[in-house]
Structure formats: structure tokens, C-alpha cells
């Protein structure tokens, strides 16, 4: 019992360590940022120069989702906050929440108050807030304190009249302030969305976050999954773990697997998620990662939800789907429950099947299909019609339906026949 506990402990510790590593963005992005030419160093350079030289600046961080823009930004900010503890204050806004100007100004004022231990009044008007912000900018400029505005989901701020952006950038230019505006967005063309007056005040600095190259990816995976030799994990276990890991990485099948995954999901975020799944499938009894874990993770990502839905349907529901498909083939593009029922009846009249059910049962099956989102109402306005009369459309293509029927356990042959014609 004692020996068993001994044996379980290292693998469990390793599992814990790997899981916490994979969920910690700092750990993931620091090694990727250690090169002199990386986005991290460029960003750090820009912000620190504006801090030291007391000037204004603006920059956009662009890249697909999961490529680490906010993570790298947080790394830079935390480093700078350590370097200049009194010289920086950070204001964070999110385009999803604060795209309305009133809301945004209120939030900026609130964060400034919190930062400088001032009292924030919730009933302050828009003008009050904007005057307050301009005054704060001036004061901070005089005190050589840089305010950094982080605008997440920048494309949402660029909708509408862009009043917030304009007032912010304008204030930066006119008042004697030290501010940096950092926009983060997943749209690579977000600067085209800016109005002319805003764009003229925005410096055209962009940092692109692209997915790393293949070698970098491999190095990254090795770095993340290798156990450190100096922690509280026993040394020989860690060494064997790392050795097996290296063997897996050099395996051709693994390379193929990773390539398959990365061809669809190429950002670091996706890769980390995949590794998390693989790590969580690790068998604690064996205690080491194996190729099987990665394969299981890949297959759980390659789901086909519509086929799964079809496999879950009952036979009556399949009948309804096939009837709708036939109606579509007959060029009736909008159909409702009653027309589907007439088709259903004709199928049963032509070939005497045992599946002839009453209208209320079929209506329930119809509602199940709606619930599972295999069919959907064509328009959402028709709430003053009962369910039987509202037109519906199929959300599944005929190829998927065909495949689903073929793989259905004990599918009645007549359904396949009707589909084929």
C-alpha cells in the first residue's frame, strides 16, 4: 500500500504540474517571447520609450484568436510595472462591454478613481466624466506618469461614430499628457475601419501575431511537456518521462497527427487546448504519456455533431427528415408540418410499412427535431402561428443525412431507398 502510494504520487504530481502549466498563459508565452525580434520585445520597447521619454503613442496588436496578443501584453505590462512601479497606470476597456461612449467614459473614470484612490460618483454625467479624464491626463502628464489604455476587441470601438476613440486621441494630442493607447483585435484590417480624423491621429504601428513556424511549435511542445529535473518530482521518474516524450515526438505518426491538427487549428491557443486534453487522458497507472493519449485527443476534436445527432434520432424522426428531403427534391423549398405529413402518408400508402403513426405523435417527433436543431423555422417572427403551420427548413445537407442513415443501427431499408431516388 505504501509502495503503491509512492508510485502514484509522482505521476499525479506530474499531471498536476502539466495541467497548471497548460492553463497558465504566462508560462506558455514567455519562452516564445524570449527572442530579441519577438513581438514581446518590440512592444516592451515601444511602451518603455514612451514612459522614459514622456511621449504619447498608439499601437495595434492584431492576430487571430488564441495567438497570444493579450497574454504577451500582460507579460509586458507586468514586467514594466515591476520596473516602474509608480510610473504607469493601466486602464482596461473591452469592446464588447464598453462600446457605448457613455459607458466607456464612465468606466475609464471609475478605473482612474480606483487607481488614485479618489471617490467615484456614479451619477456623474458624460461631460463631467470627460472633463475629469482630460484633467487627469494633464495631471499625470505633469507628474510624469504614463497612462496606458488597453482597448480589447478594438473593432467594436470602431463601430458607430467612434467618438470615444476620437476624444481620447484628440486629448492625447492637445493636452500635455503621457498616454499610450493599445488596441487589440482579431480583425487584421481594423485600421481600415477607422474614420479619417481618427486615423490621422493614430500612429500606424501594428504588431502582427502570427502562428509560429513548425520548428518553433516543436520546440514549444517539448518545453511545455518536459518535466523539470529540479522540482520535487523524483529525478529518475522525470528523466524517464522526458525520454519517452522525446521518443514520441520523433515518431512519424505523431508528426502526422500534429500536422493534421494544426492544419485546422493553427494558433497557440488551440494547440494548448489539444495538449491539455492529451495530458488529461494520461493513464496514471502507467504514469507516462503515450501516443494513444494524443490520438484520443485528436479524435475527440474531430467530431461530426450532425452525424451524432442523427444517430440519436428515433426512427420516426428519421422518417420526417427523409420526407423533408424528398420535398426539397421536388422543389418545394418551404414546407411545414402538414405538408411533411402528407408526404409521410404517401410513403405509407405506396409501401405498407409498420411505422404509420398518428399526427400527434409525429408532431412530437417534429418538435424533437426542432429542439435538436436539425430543422429550424425559416423566420422568427411568426409567433402568431402554431407550430404546425410555420415553415421550416432543414439544417442538414443531404450528404450528411445519407451518411447518417447508412451508419444508423437498424435503419429501415425503405428510408434508404427513398433517399436514393
Amino acid at each position: 500500500m505504501g509502495r503503491e502510494k509512492e508510485k502514484e504520487k509522482p505521476s499525479e504530481k506530474a499531471l498536476n504540474l502539466l495541467r497548471s502549466r497548460l492553463t497558465d498563459p504566462n508560462f506558455i508565452f514567455r519562452p516564445l517571447s524570449d527572442y530579441p525580434d519577438s513581438n514581446y520585445s518590440k512592444l516592451k520597447f515601444i511602451i518603455s520609450t514612451s514612459v522614459t521619454e514622456a511621449c504619447n503613442n498608439s499601437i495595434l496588436l492584431l492576430g487571430p484568436r488564441g495567438s497570444g496578443k493579450v497574454a504577451v501584453l500582460e507579460l509586458v505590462l507586468s514586467d514594466l510595472l515591476q520596473q516602474y512601479p509608480e510610473g504607469i497606470s493601466v486602464i482596461r476597456l473591452n469592446g464588447l462591454l464598453h462600446s457605448d461612449d457613455n459607458c466607456a467614459l464612465k468606466e475609464i473614470a471609475r478605473q482612474l478613481c480606483v487607481e488614485h484612490q479618489l471617490l467615484f460618483s456614479k451619477v456623474a454625467s458624460f461631460d463631467d466624466n470627460s472633463q475629469f479624464i482630460i484633467a487627469m491626463l494633464r495631471e499625470c502628464g505633469l507628474a510624469h506618469k504614463t497612462i496606458i489604455f488597453v482597448l480589447d476587441e478594438f473593432d467594436f470601438f470602431a463601430q458607430g461614430k467612434q467618438r470615444l476613440l476620437y476624444s481620447l486621441l484628440d486629448a492625447m494630442q492637445s493636452v500635455n499628457s503621457q498616454a499610450v493607447v493599445i488596441g487589440v483585435s482579431c480583425r487584421l484590417d481594423v485600421d481600415q475601419l477607422l474614420e479619417k480624423r481618427v486615423r490621422s491621429r493614430f500612429s500606424h504601428r501594428k504588431l502582427l501575431f502570427l502562428s509560429p513556424s513548425k520548428e518553433d511549435t516543436e520546440r514549444f511542445m517539448e518545453h511545455i511537456l518536459s518535466l523539470p529535473v529540479d522540482s520535487n518530482i523524483p529525478h529518475n521518474y522525470a528523466a524517464e518521462f522526458n525520454g519517452r516524450l522525446k521518443k514520441i515526438f520523433s515518431d512519424d505518426r505523431f508528426k502526422e497527427l500534429i500536422n493534421t491538427y494544426l492544419s485546422f487549428n493553427f494558433t497557440i491557443g488551440h494547440l494548448v487546448r489539444f495538449l491539455f486534453q492529451a495530458v488529461s487522458y494520461m493513464d496514471l497507472d502507467v504514469g507516462f504519456l503515450s501516443l494513444e493519449n494524443f490520438k484520443t485527443a485528436l479524435s475527440s476534436n474531430q467530431r461530426q455533431p450532425k452525424l451524432e445527432c442523427i444517430r440519436d434520432c428515433s426512427i420516426l424522426e428519421l422518417y420526417m427528415l427523409v420526407c423533408m428531403k424528398r420535398l426539397e427534391v421536388k422543389e418545394q423549398n418551404s414546407y411545414n408540418f402538414y405538408t411533411v405529413m402528407t408526404e409521410y402518408k404517401t410513403i405509407h400508402d405506396s409501401s405498407q410499412t409498420s411505422d404509420n403513426y398518428a399526427a400527434n405523435v409525429c408532431l412530437r417527433a417534429f418538435e424533437h427535431l426542432l429542439q435538436r436543431q436539425l430543422i429550424n423555422f425559416i423566420d422568427n417572427r411568426g409567433h402568431n402561428q402554431s407550430v404546425e403551420f410555420r415553415p421550416v427548413k432543414l439544417l442538414i445537407s443531404s450528404a450528411e443525412l445519407h451518411q447518417g442513415l447508412k451508419s444508423y443501427h437498424q435503419c429501415p431499408a425503405i428510408l434508404l431507398k427513398k433517399m436514393d431516388r
Binding site: K5, E8, E12, L15, N16, R19, S20, L22, T23, V70, L96, D152, E153, C186, G269, H270, R273, F276, Q277, S280, D283, L284, D285, S300, R303, P305, K306, E308, C309, R311, D312, C313, S314, I315, L316, S334, Y335, N336, Y338, T339, T342, D355, Y357, A358, A359, N360, V361, R364, A365, H368, Q371, R372, Q373, N384, Q385, S386, E388, F389, P391, H409
Partner: protein, 464 residues
């Protein structure tokens, strides 16, 4: 899925669950923070893996995978999306599993709850150092969640598959976990749990489960349908505890067979009261005459409506089905319906046109009518009814009083019919500005109501 052979192995191989649950139990009394509670009353302390697997008989792979994703105690968690058809046990399994390894589990139905729980949980995190786990039930669109704090784990439970949730919002994509619908064997397993007389129920299921599975595979609907059928199955047996042999099984099968198809057609109905007389009749009938028995059965509507409400329902039905121009000829002052047209031999073209028209009628559904038309038809019908009443029962009712009684609360009846979804209030016509109504009852129900009032509805219906 051989569960019986491997209980010993699972306890050892599935890892820290067995170990950590003991730890959790022993350290629980020394924790100072308040035990958080979810909405469902799962009162037990975390128990071993075996109990978990036996409570959910056919969910072994899903439970194991979920436990793997949750990880050992106190390890951080990627967001997980649990999805699958309705009544597949997602919520109960998730809650049980998380209670198993996490110390505080919360279940939220609305986003506001989630935010509140999160705030509470964060306050707890600062005072205590155990892992927390929050959940949110997202049945509508996906919710953005950009942050991923190590102490809070998020589990989303949803009815529809994740490909319906692709929004361009920067949330961490959760790891999907799929709960399949049960197969027929699984269903048999599930229904056999907690049965007193297993052999009898097994023979019942052999006969009944397959046809019912062709209609639906949801556990809740099947349970409701099968329970009433099982009572019928056991009727001829005097001793409910006996295990049936082959001969008895065959007899029971032949006895239940005619009922299966009728029960199939009523699978989703909720009986308001047992139709005792009709059941006694049914057992004597054979297969061929069963159909007429069913029709007689359905003549009765099993809910109560006042007379004026029934008339209102019929007038609404007529108003929706007939075009407005026909009202004058149908309801003229002599009260004689005039829907008999001279029958001409239908030509091929007019037959096609008729078919198209009928299809259009089916597609469009019942038409809308304004309130005035409804009241006019209602008045005509009720005056007809009173005339016929007068002919039958000479002057028993005072016509004046009863007619005023019928009219006075008709608007009240109309609003209650609207609430019961027999009449739907539609949009208003932009020119006139009054609201229009539409009927939502099927023809069968209208015929039944008319029959109960002895009103000749079919004479008034416009047939193209």
C-alpha cells in the same frame, strides 16, 4: 460495457478519486468556510467511484472521461462543454462527478446567477485555498468567457451541439464532452433498475421496447408511456410476484398486442383521467374492430369548457377557415346553411387547381379575422342554437335571459381562450388598426367540440 466484471480494477486504476475523496472527507471538518450548496439537494458526502457508476448505469465512458478532464483535486481546469440530447443525464452526472472531486459546486440557470456565484466564490477563494467549481447552464447562445482563472472551473451544459455556438467572441473554446442518447440495450438496462419483479418486467420489455423505441428514445417519455402499459400487461396476472414461463409469456403477449399500436399513437399524451369504461370494452374487441373502438373513445374531450366558450371556439374555427365573403350566405337570417353548390364534373385543370389551392391552404394555415367578425358569427350561431333549443324543449329557458347571459362574458371567454392557446392573437392590420385573431385548434378538436354541442359543423365548413 461489462460493468460486473471490473469493479475491482476500476477502483485501483481510476486513480486519485479513491484517494482524494478520502482526503476530502477527512479535511472537510477542519475547513472553516461555509459549505456551498447547489440548487438540487444532493445531500451526500463525496462517495467512491463505484456508487457513481452504479447510479448512472450506462454512462460509464462519459463519467470516466469527465473525471479525467476534471483532473485530480485542486488542479486547474479548461472549460468543458457537456452536450447531448434532452434527458440524457448530463446535469445529474456532471453535478455528481464534480461534487465527487471538488468541494464546492454551484449550478446556475441565468447569467446573473453566474455572476453572483462567481463573486461569492472569489471571496471564498481568498479566505480558503480549496478549488471551486462553478457551472452555467447555457441553453441559448454561448457566453463569452475570456478569462481563465486557475481556481475556478467552468462547465457548460447544453442541449445543442457546439457547432451552433460559433460566435466570433474571444472565449476560450471549451473541450466538448458528448452524452450519447441511450441505445435500446441501455434503455433496457435503465428500466430494469429498481424493478421488483425483474423477470416479468424483462418479458414485458422484450415485447414492448422495440416498437416504442422506433418512436422515441428519450427516457422520460418512454417511462411515462411504459408505466401505464405495464399496468395493463399485469392485469390478468393474479400474482404479481411470479416469474413467467414461456407459456405465460405467450399469453400475456397476445393479450397486450392489440394495445401496443394504440398506445404508440398516444405515446406523448398525458391522461387526465383514466377512461375505465373504454378499457373494459377494448379487451373484448379484436384487432379489426379496434379502430372503431378508438374512434368512439376519442369522441369525448377530456377537459371542461363552458357552453359559451365552446361556441366561441367553433365560431373562431369557422372564421379562420371560411373566407369572409361566404359569411352572408352561410348565416343568413333564416338560419339555413347554403353550402350545397351544384356539382359540376371536375375537369383535370380544376382538379390540379384544387390541389394547389389545398396545398396553399396547408402552407398558409388558418386565416386571421377581426374581433367583429368573430362576434357576428358567434351571435348567429348562438341564436341558431337557441332556436333549435326552443323547438325541442318548449320554452323551458327564457330566451332573453340566456342570450344575455351568453353574451355578457364573451370577451372574458375570449381572453381565456387566448391564454389557453386555442385562439392566437396576431398582429394588427395596418390599415384598420384592430387586432386580428387566428384559430389554433385542429379540425378534430373542433369537430369534437361541435359534436358535444350537437352543432352541425361540417355543414358550415367551406370545402373547396
Amino acid at each position: 460495457m461489462d460493468m460486473e466484471g471490473s469493479p475491482q480494477v476500476t477502483r485501483r486504476t481510476t486513480r486519485s478519486c479513491a484517494v482524494s475523496s478520502n482526503d476530502v472527507e477527512s479535511t472537510k471538518p477542519s475547513e472553516s468556510y461555509k459549505p456551498t450548496l447547489n440548487d438540487l439537494a444532493f445531500g451526500k458526502q463525496p462517495f467512491g467511484l463505484e456508487d457513481l457508476l452504479s447510479r448512472f448505469p450506462c454512462r460509464r465512458t462519459q463519467i470516466l472521461e469527465f473525471l479525467r478532464l476534471l483532473g485530480p483535486l485542486n488542479s486547474p481546469l479548461f472549460p468543458v462543454l457537456v452536450y447531448g440530447g434532452p434527458s440524457t443525464g448530463k446535469t445529474s452526472v456532471t453535478l455528481q462527478d464534480s461534487k465527487h472531486s471538488y468541494s464546492s459546486v454551484k449550478r446556475c440557470e441565468r447569467p446573473s446567477d453566474f455572476v453572483n456565484y462567481l463573486r461569492e466564490a472569489l471571496e471564498n477563494v481568498i479566505s480558503s485555498l480549496k478549488g471551486n467549481s462553478g457551472k452555467s447552464n447555457s441553453k441559448m447562445s454561448g457566453r463569452p468567457d475570456g478569462t481563465m482563472m486557475p481556481e475556478v472551473g467552468l462547465i457548460f451544459i447544453s442541449n445543442i451541439s457546439p457547432d451552433m455556438y460559433y460566435l466570433n467572441i474571444g472565449y476560450v473554446e471549451p473541450i466538448p464532452l458528448y452524452f450519447l442518447n441511450y441505445t435500446e440495450d441501455d434503455l433496457r438496462h435503465i428500466f430494469m433498475v429498481n424493478q421488483t419483479n425483474r423477470k416479468l418486467y424483462a418479458s414485458f420489455l422484450d415485447v414492448v421496447l422495440r416498437p416504442f423505441c422506433r418512436v422515441t428514445r428519450r427516457v422520460d417519455e418512454l417511462a411515462a408511456a411504459l408505466s401505464s402499459l405495464f399496468k395493463k400487461y399485469c392485469e390478468p396476472l393474479s400474482d404479481k410476484e411470479v416469474a413467467p414461463n414461456e407459456e405465460m409469456k405467450r399469453k400475456l403477449f397476445s393479450q397486450i398486442r392489440p394495445h401496443i399500436s394504440s398506445a404508440l399513437n398516444e405515446t406523448f399524451q398525458v391522461r387526465s383521467q383514466p377512461l375505465l369504461g373504454a378499457e373494459a370494452n377494448k379487451t373484448k374487441k379484436t384487432n379489426s374492430s379496434k379502430m372503431s373502438g378508438i374512434l368512439e373513445d376519442f369522441d369525448k374531450i377530456d377537459f371542461h369548457m363552458s357552453t359559451s366558450a365552446k361556441y366561441l371556439l367553433i365560431s373562431a374555427f369557422l372564421a379562420s377557415r371560411n373566407p369572409a365573403t361566404l359569411d352572408a350566405s352561410l348565416f343568413d337570417s333564416t338560419g339555413v346553411s347554403d353550402s350545397r353548390k351544384r356539382k359540376r364534373k371536375a375537369s383535370e385543370k380544376s382538379m390540379d387547381q384544387k390541389e394547389m389551392a389545398e396545398q396553399e391552404l396547408h402552407m398558409k394555415g388558418p386565416g386571421t379575422f377581426p374581433l367583429e367578425r368573430l362576434l357576428a358569427i358567434f351571435q348567429c350561431i348562438t341564436s341558431l342554437a337557441e332556436d333549435s333549443l326552443d323547438e325541442e324543449e318548449s320554452r323551458e329557458l327564457t330566451t332573453e335571459g340566456s342570450s344575455r347571459g351568453l353574451m355578457s362574458d364573451v370577451l372574458l371567454q375570449l381572453s381565456s381562450l387566448c391564454n389557453a392557446n386555442f385562439i392566437i392573437k396576431g398582429g394588427s392590420c395596418p390599415l384598420e388598426g384592430s387586432t386580428r385573431y387566428r384559430t389554433a385548434v385542429s379540425e378534430d378538436l373542433a369537430l369534437k367540440v361541435a359534436r358535444s354541442l350537437k352543432f352541425p359543423l361540417s355543414k358550415y365548413l367551406y370545402r373547396r
